[in-house]
Amino acid sequence: MLQKYDWLETSLKMGKVILIKSDFEVSAEKVLQTLISCDDSGELLTVLSILPLSTRMKGIIYRQISIDEENKIISLYLTYDFSDNFRVLSRRQCCGSFLNLVDAGYMSMDEALRVWLQR
């Protein structure tokens, strides 16, 4: 089972990996568009989502994953912090989130996503 993380490890070595969780309120397509508009790092990016995406851009690898894969990766992420190159876009109930600042009108979703994606 552990060997299944090989591709993830390889992707993390090449650059950031962002998993847009299936319950995240902003569509993966929209996140990807924001990502494209703000990322100028030149780093390779891998975007994981259970949804098929039509947006394509050089330097961004899109990987469609199954719900089962999503669950496994999320479980691993919630077991420990295995890389600073790995991030998950999701809303959690057991802790605060930048999404609360968006909900309160403190900043726009677009502005928050830009910061989140660039960090």
């Binding site: 490890e9 077991t79 420990y80 802790c95 930048f98 600042l101 309160a104 960090r119």
Partner: protein, 411 residues
Amino acid sequence: MLNGRQISEMQENFLQFLNEGAFSNKKIFIFGHCHASEVMADMFLKHGFLVCGIIDNNEGKWGLDYSGISVCKPQIILSYDGALVCIASRFYEEMYKQLRGMGFTGDVLKLVDYNTYAEYSLSDVTIQRKRKRLELGLENLQDINCRFPGHFRVFCPFEALGDVYMAMSYLPRFLQKIKKSKVIMIVPSRSCAEVVRLFSGVDAYILEQGKLDATIQAVLYSQDKGSFIAHQDRPYVIDISYMLQAKCISLEDLYRIGVFGLGKDIESAVPSEWEDYSALNKIPKNNSVILSPYAKSVTSLADYVWVGIVKYYESINYKVFTNVFGNEEPIADTEPISPSIREMKSVVERAGTFIGIRSGLCDVIRTVNAKKIALYPDYYYSNTKWKAIDMYSLAEFENIVVKEGFEWKQV
């Protein structure tokens, strides 16, 4: 911020590296300018080592100085043969990776295990080890459930009085929002538990930091609906403070809005469960000043700043006390005083004046009726473009930035 256990761990590791000869004939650098790095620098200086520099990614800190050691950019280490980098930071994994990414091939030493959540590896061994830690955390969580049946569990992940105070300030409205009444706070130290108990009707349960980390990991993993983690940037999944890259957000709003999801107009709860200090009569009423020069979370202020303050208050016949804890030394020509957190209100109100470096203690006494002054080292918060005072200033205090050449004047 280092707690007592972490300082002991750092001392033990330092001595072990020393005995192994790890520092011999090396150009020593410390990565990250913070309280922990200053403690480490003191260890090197005490043992007669020269520290070539404190490297830091924050451009705003370059050129600063601690005990004659300059803060400089990380790339400087590449120009030294035999450079050695020592780290005492929760960002060890990121720092290590950065150093190797820069092409630094020298030794990198971790002097304290500051962040048990992170290990940048997907090796089988690491995954198994972290799963074992998770299992222990799940057992701890189950144990807490048994000890406090029917309680909603709120975790304060780190020993920082200000963060615990902020959490407590907005907890009642948060509990109202999520329709919970019975709550137990889980904190890493007695001091944090004291802050909790300042607020009416809430009790605290203390878990040692390593166990607390594992239990919080279990809360995350199990997505436990009966638990909440009340912190603005820990552990790693919490992303609120990253928004500081775009906007200056006060610590209060990071908690009120970011952590608890409350509206900006929601007012904070006020602590009420104070106790009287037993020796109040030794403090001349309204003719004393309580100095609080120590903070674990921020870099220290130069001695001359405090000396100048003491001189001024002596000149107007005030009695000057230094609030000390554990092995902390009082400032010269002042009397040590060690009230508990719950006794601070009586002490400060009796004295009439409080002057402290901006620390969690300032949060704790913000509602106390006295003249209160918070001093801010002139530094940038984390890797942001905001100064400490931009984020931490307190409406109930006079807030003063201490720049180079600072001279105390009556305010």
